[in-house]
Amino acid sequence: MVRTTATILKPILAAGALLALAAAPAVAQADSIIVQSTTSTQNSGLYDFILPQFQATTGIEARVVAVGTGQALTNAANCDGDVVVVHARPAEEEFVANGYGTERHDLMYNDFIIVGPSADPADVASAPDVATALSRIAEAEAPFASRADNSGTHMREMALWEATDADPVAASGTWYRETGSGMGATLNIAVGMDAYALTDRGTWISFENKGDLEILFQGDPALNNQYGVIPVNPEHCPNVRAEGAQAFTDWLLSDDGQAAIAAYRVQGEQLFFPNAQ
Amino acid sequence: MADRPGSSVIPFAPTPGAGGELPALALQGLVIERGGKRLLDGLTARLPRSGITAVMGPNGAGKSLALRAIMGLIPVNSGAVWMHPSVAGAVALVFQRPVLLRRSVRANLAHALKVFGVPRRERPQRLTELIRLGGLTNLADRPARALSGGEQQRVAMVRAFAAQPRLLLLDEPTASLDPQHTGAIEWLIRTAAEGGAKVILVTHDNGQAHRLADDVLFLHHGRALEHTSRSRFFDRPVSAEARAYLAGDLLL
């Protein structure tokens, strides 16, 4: 069977050559950075609007991987990203404190809203604050779709439930539905089962499958949704493209970048409000 | 690839014959058992260096099995196969139902030349010779498996010739062919024998054995009952079984 070994080896060598071919374009694109970010920002279309401007200014191509805030920070801590744009301040500060990121900057904000079926069976529309709104949903045992994916939105939702007497996770599987999915997927599920959901306004405005759902509660300062940008720390990740990451961060925080964010509109509505210091 | 020729048999060497001559092929007590039945039951034979040996006998006598055992295609339980050094390594077998590759006639023969280790630069000329020998010029580019049975058997014959065999084993090569194709195959068999190859021809066709054979090996129940010249076999068979077989009375 000595000759058979050669039969096996040959394809493996050929396979290596094929892979090398497939790899070629990726290697050629050295002037690019990976942005670990959130589904809410990507689904809103913000990146498709501002990244071409960034590339035109700096020549750097920013490639966005959109996952939940938790996964984005984990991926970046694994050195699989050069910069993160996420929205969960405590987790971001921990990320920097652990030495994974250099420095956190406020970037922009919008707000969270509670959407739900227009009939509003839990009567959240008339609630004076968000804690009351959530308590009413729990009392009415009205369906509520939660991301339950450790994303920024999910972390905020958990923090908001903390301020109520309700224990939604204990009710998981009954009126409280943990989707384990991204923002859009969770909204699709909420539409399908006439459930309430907490979402960021940007995703909601650009979401095209609203069905019978509408905004029922908004405006509580506790619903402020602050986004931050953090370059990954080159001391933790030697392979990180620190210059590109810094250029990206600087541009986002610059007047140009902030103006680009402010200029993005869907159906005439501004989705993100720049607030770099 | 465990069943190479001779791998499962005990080596032995035949003693030289009266004139000091060694046989082309010697079988010593070949036994093949399957499911408790002795299909070859101590088959012993010495086949002369040249000419065409017809192997005859009723169905189930073990004729085809013996050819496969000689080829090493099936393991034997005991016994030995010996080949003269001049034929060992140049043995080819043609089956009753040829299996041709799913390619053109030309590609089938080219494949055989490659398998038999013919140097690449010699192949085109050899290929042309084989096609001509088989009378396949007009069929060379047809898909081999689209040919008639007789045409396919011609391809199988010249494919065996690609090995330049010194020992050619034929397992009822004309069993299901019409007279015209039978004639073509018989011509190829004679050509091989005249070219110096030792031919062992399993056949049920008395007329064919008459036309082609120099000597006849008669098998019955996995044993060699008679091995004699063609004329003696047909005119004065010794065993009662051979007489019954020639009379058409021995079917098993």
Binding site: I8, P11, D80, S206 | V115
Partner: protein, 235 residues
């Protein structure tokens, strides 16, 4: 307009407009999946042939394993490939994460068992017919495998098509290792997932219709070629 009609209209509009983004996404899908299929065939066909032809201890177990791996969950493969190619993983220094190359790797892992298992079956069936003839010719192991693979080529095309179908259809693995980066690693399936999460269901369905139409077209073309050539080779 109901969602199905609007999806069909959107699909037709997309195709008619030759939308460059659409072409890019289709192009990447084809490039990644076809490269993965080529890799899978390079490894899977000889592997299947070996399993069909060569007897060795433990062969039965390997055959069962390869068949079982046909059902590898894409998301698990994606995860394993992600961990392997992550910057903190063993192959991190190659810096291939979030590139088409690593998507090819993940899909090749998914497709190879399919090609190998189906090839083994096809070649084993053919070997039943060819075995005595090839052995009587003293054919070497390597030549036996080459002969069987070549003569089974039209049946093996079906195995390859099954593998391609799997590659073109899966989303779990390429989403994780590719990251669904616009203009870089966005394929048909990840674009469909994205449009779905954007709530743009008719765009998602339109892309789905195009993907299915593409798959049907590829299968149809290969089958037509196969039938024509097979008739010429087998008669």
């Amino acid at each position: 307009m109901d969602p199905f009609s609007s999806a069909f209209v959107a699909a037709l509009e997309l195709i008619a407009s030759l939308d460059p983004n659409l072409l890019e996404v289709i192009g990447l899908s084809l490039r990644v999946s076809l490269t993965a299929l080529a890799l899978a065939c390079l490894i899977g066909l000889p592997l299947g042939a070996l399993l069909a032809v060569v007897r060795f201890p433990g062969r039965g177990a390997v055959v069962v394993l390869v068949s079982a791996l046909m059902g590898l969950p894409p998301v698990v493969v994606g995860l394993v490939v992600y961990v392997t190619f992550s910057a903190s993983g063993p192959l991190g220094p190659l810096q291939l994460l979030y590139t088409p190359t690593v998507m090819v790797v993940a899909q090749a892992i998914l497709v190879t068992p399919i090609v190998a298992a189906l090839a083994r079956q096809v070649i084993a069936d053919l070997n039943v017919e060819y075995d005595e003839t090839l052995r009587s010719m003293g054919t070497s192991g390597r030549m036996t495998i080459a002969t069987l693979v070549w003569d089974a080529r039209y049946s093996l095309l079906t195995a390859a098509l099954a593998g391609l179908g799997r590659a073109l259809a899966e989303v779990g693995a390429v989403m994780i290792v590719g990251g669904n980066i616009n203009h870089v690693t966005r394929m048909m399936t990840t674009a469909i997932a994205l449009e779905t999460s954007r709530g743009d269901l008719s765009m998602a369905m339109a892309l789905g219709i195009i993907l299915i139409a593409l798959t049907i077209a590829i299968n149809g073309a290969v089958m037509a070629v196969r039938n024509g050539m097979e008739r010429r080779a087998y008669g």
